[in-house]
Symmetry: C2
Subunit: 221 residues, 2 copies
C-alpha cells in the first residue's frame, strides 16, 4: 500500500495534539518555549547559558530535537537539567505528537521553564504548533543581516528574536540597525535581544524576559 | 476539494523532470552544480567569488532559490552573470520543475558552469534531484564542527563539502580534524575544500575542482 498523507489533516491533527500538550503544560504550570534557528546559530548554547544564568531559582527542562544524534542532549544532561532527546529520523521539524511523547518522559512537576529545541531549520518548524507558550528565533551575526528578507515567515511568527554571537561582530559585516529595521517591518511587537553565548554578554535581559513570560503564564505577573 | 499530494508520486514526478533537465543541460554542454547549505553559510558569496576567480575562461550562470526576496540575484547580476531568481513562496527546497522553468529563462548556449543555489536548509533539498551534475554542501566554521553528526543525510549525499569562513577560525571553537573525520565516516569519497570567501584564501583548489568537473561532464578531461 502506498501511504497517502493528506496535508490538511496532518496539520489539523497536529494542532489538536498541540492543544492537548498546552493543557498538560498548564496543568503542571510549565512554561514551554519553542526555540527555532538555523543549524549552528547557537540554540543549545543559549539553553546551556540560560540554565547557568537561571541558577536555583528557575528549574529548567529541555526537549532536544534533531534529525540524528544525541550530542545536544548529552550537553544539557551534563548541565544537570532533565532532558529528552527526540530524533526525528529525517523529518525537518518537531511536531506536537513528538513533543507529547517527550513530555511523558519528563518530570513536569519539577520544571518551571521547558525549552523545546527544534530541528535546525528556518522554514518548516513554523508550520507546526507544539503547545508552547512562546516561540523564539535565534539568529546569529555570522549568518548575515539579510535573513529577515529571505525567511520572513519565521521572523513574523515569533514572540522574540535573539541575535547571538555578537562577539563575532568585529570580524564580519553585519548591520545591526538594518537587521532591526527589517524585523520591525515584519514583526513590530517581537522582543529583541542581542547577546553572546560565548562571552555571556547580554544574557540578563533575555533571562528577565523569560522570567516575565513565566510569570504571565502562571498568572503571577 | 481538499488537495491530496501523494509523496511517492511527487518524488517520482520530480525525478522524471530532473531527468529532462539533465538532458537539456547535456545538450547545451552545461555543467550544473546544486549548492546546498544552512542559511548564511555563504552560498552566494561562494558563487560571487567563483565568478571573480573564473575570469573570462569560464562562463558562469546562476539560478538563485529563496523563499522570498531577490537580494542574492541582484548581487549576482551586478557581478555580470546571467541569473534567474526562483521564489519558492514558502517551499523549503528547490525542485526539478522550478529549475526547468528557470532554465527556460537562461541563455544556456552561453553558459559553461551553472550554479543552482538551493534554499538555505540542511534537510529537505537533498530529497529533490534537479538534474545537476554535482551536489555541493557549503558548511561554515561558525556553525560548529558537529554538523555532520546532526545532518548526516546531506553530508552523505554530496560530491563535495566546502568549509567556508575559515577566517573566523581564530574566534570560534572548531575542530577541523574532527569535522573531517566525521565527514570521512559518512562520505569517504566527497571532495573537501577549506576556504574563506571573505579573504579569498583557498579558492584556487575549489576552482580547479569545478574545472575538472566541467571537463568530465563534457568528456574532455
Amino acid at each position: 500500500m502506498v501511504q497517502v498523507p493528506i496535508v490538511r489533516d496532518i496539520l489539523s491533527a497536529n494542532e489538536r495534539i498541540a492543544e492537548e500538550n498546552r493543557r498538560l503544560l498548564e496543568m503542571h504550570r510549565v512554561c514551554a518555549v519553542n526555540i527555532m534557528a538555523s543549524p549552528g546559530a547557537g540554540k543549545t548554547s543559549l539553553i546551556l547559558r540560560t540554565i547557568e544564568a537561571a541558577g536555583e531559582g528557575l528549574r529548567v527542562g529541555v526537549i532536544e530535537g534533531d534529525i540524528a544524534s544525541r550530542v545536544d542532549a548529552d550537553k544539557v544532561a551534563a548541565a544537570g537539567a532533565p532532558v529528552v532527546q527526540i530524533n526525528t529520523g529525517g523529518t525537518c521539524h518537531l511536531d506536537a505528537p513528538m513533543v507529547r511523547a517527550a513530555l511523558e518522559q519528563l518530570p513536569l512537576g519539577e520544571i518551571d521553564l521547558l525549552f523545546v529545541e527544534n530541528v535546525g531549520n528556518l522554514i518548516c518548524p513554523v508550520e507546526f504548533g507544539l503547545g508552547e507558550a512562546a516561540r523564539v528565533l535565534v539568529s546569529s551575526v555570522p549568518e548575515g543581516d539579510d535573513k529577515p528578507y529571505k525567511y520572513p515567515g519565521i521572523f513574523a511568527a515569533v514572540d522574540a528574536v535573539v541575535l547571538n554571537k555578537t562577539d563575532l561582530a568585529p570580524y564580519v559585516p553585519f548591520d545591526r540597525a538594518a537587521f532591526r529595521r527589517l524585523i520591525a517591518g515584519i514583526n513590530p511587537t517581537a522582543a529583541f535581544f542581542e547577546l553572546s553565548c560565548a562571552t555571556g554578554e547580554g544574557m540578563a535581559a533575555w533571562a528577565a524576559w523569560l522570567k516575565a513570560l513565566l510569570g504571565r503564564v502562571r498568572g503571577t505577573a
